[in-house]
Assembly symmetry: C2
Homo-oligomer: 70 residues x 2
Amino acid sequence: MCEANVFIIQDEPDPENPGELFLEAVDQIIPEGENLWRLTSIFGEQKTLVGRIHSMRLVDHQVLFQRLEP
Amino acid sequence: MCEANVFIIQDEPDPENPGELFLEAVDQIIPEGENLWRLTSIFGEQKTLVGRIHSMRLVDHQVLFQRLEP
């Protein structure tokens, strides 16, 4: 399956440490407003996040967000 | 491999027709500025797009963007 793991990073990504795992096995990423994102995992778990996308590397199953103040 | 196909939609997605295929087999999606995105396929092809993410469904290998005026 081609889900991705969503991580929160502070500044630039560290190759040794992708950051804080926010939600794993994410299928859907849908914006719900200015910098507001709803994530849904393949298990049906949903979380929302205020931030911006830093980068997505789908082959590595990795999506990095930087958190913003709500 | 877990790349995705990036489509451009006009309004809401049509289940019969995901939209205009902009770039297939996309690995990396990286923002480069306000609403500016650089996409890189697993074949090394790069394209930039001015738009906003409508939705991502990774298990379906589908990322939908709505184009914005540059």
